[in-house]
Amino acid sequence: MKKIINKPESFVQEMMEGIVAAYSDKVTTLNGDFRVLVKSTPTKEGKVGIVTAGGSGHLPVFLGYVGQGLIDGCAVGNVFASPSAQKMADMIQACDYGSGVLCLYGNYGGDKMNFEMATEMVEMDDIETRTVLVRDDVASSPKSSMEKRRGVAGMVYAFKIAGAAADKGLSLEEVARIAQKALDATRTMGVALSPCIVPEVGKPTFSIKEDEIEIGMGIHGEPGIEVKPMMQADEIASLILEKITADAPLAKGDEVSVMVNGLGATPMEELLIVYRKVHQILSDMGVSVYMPHIGEFATSMEMAGLSITIIKLDEELKPLLRAPATSPFYTNANK
């Protein structure tokens, strides 16, 4: 294992200390609890709070989206593991500015059950919550059982759009509606070329052969749809777009945003080569692209591979995507 770390068991703690050391003018721990990150910038009273939670090892997801115009808090678990319900409850309490809190997170068993427990805990304090689950990964379950799908990079669009809606002063009901609407318009699929290593485990949890590519693999190494011989960039782009548009068709005149997301070890040059083909295919369909996102937005540490996300925009979602947003790990200022 070749990781630039100290002790594996202090991986999350030291990462959090690094964040606080670097960005304390923007984000901070909740009352010194290194497992809950909140904004350190002021928040307008009455704004709907938006929170998320999840395991570590996916930066910028999840905590990287705590920022202005984005989400307000994130509870931080161990690598690939949910944080506890108590941390979530503390976070929800801290991110209630008087108009309730939207819990916006990926559809994973542990996170779901803990959030369920947490929302029950805060109900006692009369904090209103709504839950919207991210389930954008088309490879994780067929359309007939969409509710089982996992949440992957598409959650970034949901954070961005819901964050803008909350910033506009909309109600919890409305922010939840818009988050759900954005997610209903979002589809993602990924491919993986190499595994990643959970620091405490010290060796890859799965393996991919040198000449193979895993189609539809999850960001924790969940099995995908199929293993194929290594493909060229254009083939990968075409294959993913085919799956996505089969699931959520696009038509001439549609406008979308596209995210080409590196899983960790894949060079930016390669993401651009894939984007080139995605753009070509969409152009040929008469679909235009608004504010493409190319880079690393949701990773699995040193995993090689990428995912493509398509979100179909309309007149409500588009200005929300464009509205200013900035966190230490994300901004749309240059997009």
Binding site: F80, S82, S84, G109, M113, M117, S140, H220, G221
Partner: protein
């Protein structure tokens, strides 16, 4: 057996010991179709609860179980860790106000616990989870509520063993294992083994 703070201490110590002994075994099971953390989280969760009980002075079993649920979740917020907490919370409600519980009380508290799990985790027996060993065992326990504790838990353990074994033929529909679909058939569910181990530990305690 009549359950009170002290009994609870010893029982959780026993469960914790059993989970620790089976740490690698459970990791191995979870690695087949999950992420391999099962042995770690069960070991840590039960150890934390056992340690908490060592010093706790709370005698209200309801409050005590509620605290155990929190402690478990704090130290092991994995899927099965959280499910375990749900179970403890369900038991807590059922035992509220009692500082002592009879076998009948225990059996119906366990039923309440499993109901809570099913409600919160959206699962039921037959879906290749911990429920497949817990559910039949708790059914038996309720049926045997008038027997001697040792005898009742012995029969319950048999049911838990059988239930765990039966998960081999099942297809996973919950958690990470569900992504393996038909490939999960033939594999023993790690969570169902955790359920069996709980009953193994209680039996071991009662046999002492």
């Amino acid at each position: 057996m009549s359950l009170q703070l002290e009994t609870l201490r010893s029982v959780f110590q026993e469960i914790s010991a059993v989970m620790h002994e089976n740490r690698d075994y459970l990791i191995g099971l979870d690695q087949q179709n999950g992420d391999g953390d099962l042995g770690v989280s069960m070991d840590e969760g039960y150890r934390a609860v056992a340690k908490f009980l060592e010093t706790s002075e709370e005698t209200d079993l309801g409050k005590l179980f509620m605290q155990c649920a929190s402690v478990f979740n704090e130290s092991a917020p994995s899927s099965l860790g959280t499910i375990t907490s749900f179970g403890l919370m369900g038991m807590a409600k059922s035992l509220k106000g009692k500082s002592e519980a009879s076998l009948e009380d225990i059996a119906s508290a366990m039923s309440a616990g499993i109901e809570k799990i099913m409600a919160k985790a959206g699962s039921k027996p037959g879906e290749k989870t911990i429920l497949d060993s817990l559910y039949p065992a708790i059914q038996v326990l309720n049926a045997e509520k008038d027997s001697d504790s040792k005898q009742a838990f012995a029969v319950a353990l048999d049911a838990a063993r059988e239930g765990a074994e039966s998960t081999k033929m099942m297809r996973s529909v919950h958690g990470r294992a569900a992504y393996y679909g038909d490939k999960s058939i033939g594999l023993l569910d790690g969570g169902s083994e955790v359920g069996r181990l709980i009953f193994e530990a209680i039996a071991r305690y009662l046999g002492k």
